[in-house]
């Protein structure tokens, strides 16, 4: 959109399609890109008309939920219209007897949770923050309970999307068991807004557990005994028939003590008994574990280091759990070799750790750090992706190790580190083909996934 005239025309077309359109303001900016318009549709029909208007006027579109994570990843190459989903915040249907709920994509996770709680049910996703349903799906995010319940794709049973050309499409339905047709919902989890707009989603629900307990243990001593012991504890907890809902790890400083936390959920008596058994299991391996009624203060957070979050570099490292010890050692080694001081934490029992590097780290050191960690993961059995980094670091990574898009997918260069078991990039060519089919004009969140 170059000329003023066409901007005015486009604005009119958008206003005709959607009853809530305004010019973009400075705080709508994503990175340095300020959108020309912010449009907030109130229904799937309006969203459809809106995207059709965008298609007719060749406008680039960026979906936005609560906007909490737009700063992660790479700013879009082009963004004419931000589609603000917050007006679509309703729980459309809660069929408690069927353990199913249909919600609009702009609904906040927390609001949906309180609505479902009235019937003693929940979507078993514990993503922290102000997230919306659409943001959680688009970024394929899950919190600690992913160990037991999986990620959004495991709980999503139906979806409504609006394609780049305005076409409204559904897949799945409102029954948990259903194999009719392709599962477009799976495709849209992790799509980071690049395939189309999610407007509604249907989830399978679980009964809310009556009781919870956290069993935590601290491992300290000298390396590498600490990492070996922590890895053994994580494996024992995650592979125990006591059925942990989450097995998390926290290591605030390299070479320092490691905390392992295990979440047990169930009936009051059952949880109490299992917590005692879990204490015994971990106690046979390490310092006296304790069970507590509230989560430890480090639970479920992105590991923190000093300074403003905007300056931090955030990595997500995934691996087969049998490699946990090796990954922790590699992070230590990388810290020694680069002089960076990472904080590490995350869903170790599910093969996932977040690594936060402090601000002011030279881009070149971050690139070396990431490379060192990647080297500890056998080819095709995990990845080390940079989720968020200040611009200077992004620049350095772009040349070497690569940078993750919002879904955690590393940029083209960095994908070398995520090679498949066969030694090639898992499905990259197919992902590009899918992008070309769904968004031939490349107007949906262009550049957000650097490879798309």
């Amino acid at each position: 959109m170059s000329a003023r005239v066409s901007a005015a025309k486009a604005g009119k077309a958008l206003a005709a399609a959607c009853d809530n359109v305004r010019p973009g303001a400075a705080d709508d900016a994503v990175g340095a890109v300020v959108p020309s318009f912010v449009a907030a549709p109130s229904s799937t029909a309006q969203a459809s008309a809106l995207l059709r208007a965008c298609a007719e006027h060749d406008l680039a579109v960026l979906p936005r939920g609560s906007g909490s994570r737009l700063s992660w990843g790479v700013p879009p190459a082009r963004c004419d219209v931000v589609v603000d989903m917050l007006r679509m915040g309703a729980v459309i249907e809660h069929a408690a007897g069927d353990l199913v709920a249909r919600v609009q994509a702009g609904a906040r996770m927390a609001d949906v949770a309180s609505a479902l709680a009235t019937a003693g049910q929940e979507i078993a996703l514990d993503v922290p923050g102000p997230a919306t349903i659409g943001g959680v799906l688009a970024d394929a995010l899950a919190g600690p309970r992913r160990l037991r319940y999986g990620t959004p794709r495991d709980l999503l049973i139906g979806i409504t999307v609006v394609r780049a050309d305005g076409t409204v499409a559904h897949s799945g339905g409102k029954v948990v068991k259903n194999v009719a047709g392709y599962d477009i919902g799976k495709l849209f989890t992790g799509s980071a807004g690049t395939l189309g707009l999610i407007t509604e989603a249907t989830f399978r629900l679980h009964p809310r557990p009556a009781a919870r307990a956290w069993v935590t243990a601290r491992v300290q001593g000298t390396a590498p005994e600490v990492t070996t012991m922590a890895a053994a504890m994580v494996a024992a907890a995650a592979n125990s028939p006591l059925v942990a809902s989450a097995v998390e790890l926290d290591r605030p400083a390299p070479g320092g003590p490691i905390s392992v936390g295990v979440l047990l959920e169930g009936s009051a008596d059952g949880v109490a008994a299992r917590a005692r058994e879990m204490e015994g299991l971990l106690g046979s391996l390490a310092q006296v574990p304790v069970s507590v009624a509230a989560p430890p203060d480090w639970w479920a957070g992105i590991p923190t280091v000093e300074g403003g979050a905007a300056e931090h570099t955030l990595m997500r490292v995934s691996f087969w759990v049998s490699r946990l010890g090796g990954v922790l050692d590699a992070i230590d080694a990388a810290a020694r070799e680069t002089g960076l001081r990472p904080a590490v934490g995350g869903s170790a029992g599910a093969g996932l750790l977040y690594v936060t590097l402090p601000g002011g780290a030279p881009g070149e050191a971050v690139a070396r750090f990431a490379g060192r960690v990647r080297a500890a993961i056998p080819a095709g059995r995990g990845s080390a992706a940079v989720l968020a980094a200040p611009e200077a670091v992004r620049g350095a990574l772009a040349g070497t190790a690569g940078l993750a898009g919002t879904a955690g997918l590393a940029g083209t260069a960095g994908l070398a580190g995520t090679a498949g078991l066969a030694g090639s990039v898992p499905g990259l060519a197919l992902m590009r083909a899918v992008k070309d089919q769904f968004d031939p004009g490349h107007r949906m969140a262009p550049g957000r996934l650097t490879w798309a």
Binding site: Y182, G266, R323, R381, A407, P426
Partner: protein, 498 residues
């Protein structure tokens, strides 16, 4: 290029003995578990590894010849029905368990490995493979992936898609690629999830990374007899309302109980109108309390008889009746149609009533076996194909049952897939735009529409620029070709566990 000219190339790729051209032998591959749809393939190949599969597919792609993958051929929607003008790629030589990593709870298997063999490989580590279709002794993991198969225990433990974390696939153009890296942490679009359940239309899986599940501390199975399905249904609702998620909740009606009894003498309560099976599994500290609650609710709903089974042998004896139900129904009538519709669980009562009304008005008997916990019905529509018109009436009843499922917001298939059998019902469930959108995925993977074409979708979508070219249907294998015998091949190469 003709199919006959492919024979030497296929023989070079797969080795002599692994290419079938003998017309009689080709006919043994003409259908899957749904015998009403048949086609004799022009050529059958049995590759031994992923590279061979890729080479075979490249030949087909270059020649514009359609191809279909086949696992164990137990599918119930005609998904593996071959093309008369195409190549059938049979996975039965790819049966190795390549790796078991008990700490990561992962195994890597070839697609021809049977479902049960995965659990057998995992069992020494206290692990099992959770999806358990009733056909698990024979059906292949590749077929499970293609159909996103479920099983009695998927209510709590999930379907195939929840237990596959990586796939090596041969794309329809013949390239080997990985979808997912085994971790379960998504990277970009979830192509792994989209491939699972795509019924062999997006490529051929050549290695499967599966998630293994920790074997439960205790398992309790409860069997209850009821006078009516409605009574049993009440027990199910009450159990769910109590916040309990059993591993399985299954129901059978009088007709299927009678059939199962005749077939395997499972000893279910005589004359019961319904049998309910509820299995609980998990940590002892939780399950014992759940069992007490379930027993109370089952009694309160008016059970006429209740039994429990705690040890594997007792449980097996009880499950035997349920798992044998499909085959057993064959005793009640010369022919039957297995349906696979799904309704929201709370609509089960209404839909069962509609089925019984349909049965009464048409004179066609219907036996009901169903996964009561998730609303997946398996009505078995019985008929006599020797009586003129009865097959058509049975087909009508069967279609009307699917309509009832759709009316209640359900699905035409819960686990058996669309295949060739139900593609005509897809427009009843999805709009043209829905189907068109799904086919965008097809176009991304298989623009030439050579990979299991004619399945799932009632009408194919044109994908724009189509590389390669399509062939007219091929007559049959040209006369004078050397028939290649497979005699002497070991049917199941020995399993290797590393």
């Amino acid at each position: 290029m003709t199919i006959s000219s492919l024979v030497p190339r296929m023989t070079r790729i797969c080795g002599p003995g692994n290419v079938v051209t003998d017309p009689l032998e080709l006919r043994t591959y003409e259908c899957d578990g749904l015998t009403s749809h048949r086609a004799t393939p022009a050529l059958v190949v049995l590759p031994s590894d992923a590279d061979q599969v890729a080479a075979v597919v490249r030949e087909c792609a270059a020649a514009g010849i359609p191809f279909v993958a086949r696992g164990s051929g137990t599918g119930l929607s005609g998904g593996a029905v071959p093309r008369e003008d195409g190549v059938l790629i049979v996975m039965s030589k790819m049966r190795r368990v390549l790796e078991v990593d008990p700490v990561a709870r992962r195994a890597i298997v070839e697609p021809g490995v049977t479902n049960l063999a995965v659990t057998q490989a995992a069992a020494p580590h206290g692990l099992f493979y959770a999806p358990d279709p009733s056909s698990q002794v024979v059906c292949s993991v590749g077929g499970n992936v293609a159909e996103n198969s479920g099983g009695a225990h998927c209510l709590k433990h999930g379907f195939t898609v929840n237990h596959v974390t990586g796939l090596e696939v041969v794309t329809p153009s013949g390239e080997l690629t990985w979808l997912g890296d085994g971790t379960g942490v998504p990277l970009g679009y979830d192509l792994l999830g989209a491939f699972t359940g795509s019924e062999g239309t997006l490529g051929i899986a050549t290695k499967v990374v599966v998630k293994l599940t920790v074997a439960p501390q205790v398992v309790h199975l409860v069997l209850a007899g009821y006078a009516t399905l409605a009574d049993g249904g009440r027990a199910v609702s009450d159990i769910i309302a109590a916040g309990i998620v059993p591993a399985a909740i299954e129901m059978m009606d009088a007709l299927s109980i009678e059939a199962a009894e005749a077939a395997v003498a499972c000893g279910y309560p005589q004359g019961a109108g319904a049998v309910l099976l509820v299995e609980l599994d998990g940590p002892a500290a939780e399950v014992e309390a759940e069992l007490a609650t379930v027993m109370k609710l089952i009694e309160a709903a008016g059970a006429t008889e209740v039994r429990t089974a705690d040890d594997p042998a007792q449980r097996f004896a009880i499950w035997k009746g349920r798992k044998a139900a499909f085959a057993a129904v064959g005793r009640l009538a010369p022919a039957y149609i297995v349906q696979d519709g799904v309704v929201p669980r709370t609509a089960l009562g209404d839909v069962l009533a509609r089925i019984s009304a349909l049965s009464a008005s048409s004179g066609i008997r219907v036996a009901n076996v169903f996964h009561a916990g998730d609303g997946n019905l398996h009505p078995l529509v019985l008929y006599n194909d020797a009586v003129p018109g009865e097959a058509e009436r049975a087909e009508e009843v069967s279609g009307a049952i699917l309509d009832a499922c759709i009316d209640y917001g359900g699905s035409i298939t819960g686990e058996h897939g669309v295949g060739v059998d139900k593609s005509r019902y897809m427009p009843r469930m999805f709009s043209d735009d829905d189907l068109d959108t799904m086919q965008l995925l097809r176009c991304a993977f298989d623009p030439a529409s050579l990979c299991n074409p004619g399945k799932v979708f009632p009408t194919p979508r044109l994908c724009g620029e189509v590389p390669g070219h399509r062939r007219a249907p091929h007559p049959a294998v040209v006369a004078g070709q050397a028939a290649v015998s497979r005699e002497g091949d070991p049917p199941h190469p020995p399993m290797e566990i590393f």
